[in-house]
Symmetry: C2
Subunit: 175 residues, 2 copies
């Protein structure tokens, strides 16, 4: 396995990746421009290419979207702006009962080709339960628990991010 730079400033995400991949990653907290698109893979791929231009090393980025059924799938990749404006508590009350999907896309770019790995979960929106302030985790219930209520171990088996990381891991192992 080559050395891969994970573009993130989030220590928690870094640990989650390292735990599942079973290897230490180099992290770089670059502040990259993200493009507007409803296509999560396009957003992540563009970000990986921009990171490579700066770092000139194999890079990995990730982006997560949240698709609310009652809003016909909106806000998708724009969920972070919904969190910043409405906040999770209000989102949980306003969209309570709606089914929802969460998707994480990992984009890996080695300078030749972008590879993307998508993990998805399906659940429903509930009034906030569990620690708040981590995106939509406290209002997104999958299998009876909100993501915020799950232990680290449960999340590393079941979350959209862990599913994307597992796919990425298989890809790396096959190389």
């Amino acid at each position: 396995m080559k050395d891969i730079v994970f573009v993130t400033g989030n220590e928690h995400k870094l640990k989650e990746f390292e735990h599942i991949l079973g290897k230490t990653l180099i992290s770089e907290p670059l502040d990259l421009p993200e493009i507007q698109s409803f296509d999560l893979e396009k957003v992540a791929s563009y970000k990986a290419e921009e990171a490579y231009k700066i770092l000139q090393k194999p890079v990995m980025v990730e982006d997560t979207g949240f698709y609310v059924e009652v809003l016909n799938g909106f806000p998708g990749p724009f969920v972070k702006y919904m969190e910043q404006t409405m906040g999770d508590a209000k989102m949980g009350i306003m969209f309570e009962g709606s089914s929802a999907k969460a998707r994480t896309c990992i984009a890996y770019f080695d300078g030749r080709q972008v590879h993307t790995f998508v993990g998805e979960t399906e659940g429903k929106i509930v009034p906030s339960r569990g620690p708040t302030g981590f995106g939509f985790a406290s209002i997104y219930e999958v299998g009876g628990k909100t993501h915020a209520e799950m232990s680290k171990e449960e999340k590393s088996k079941k979350s959209q991010r862990s599913r994307a990381i597992e796919k990425f891991k298989k890809f790396l192992e096959s190389k």
Copy 2:
């Protein structure tokens, strides 16, 4: 007044600008990457700079955001993706009665400095009235009429876009 290139593929917008500015514009339908930001002026400024890199001439772009009170101001610059997923009819029913603001930002870049001009209106959300399919015009009521119900003449006096264009006109005349 120098020749200015208006980056748009929308014939209707082009006519509105020409009508208020009282001059013929060159239009170019460039498909530029837009950055993700809740700051409308930042989105428009970035787009103007990208357009200048390609055209190497004074350029003007515009971007419009829609700020729904009941969503604490969301979706702002991301309204086009809300329109594409939910559609105006559903937005009008779901957010009926909420006050809202619409903002247009024009960014003009002459190769030296970006200038921005913002026009704003305040109104409320109503179930769709008037021709649909033009963004949020049929669900955004200002002074008793939805934007879709207004005549071209009314819109060119009162819309957020016309207000931004008027500011831009004054700037051009002062140069």
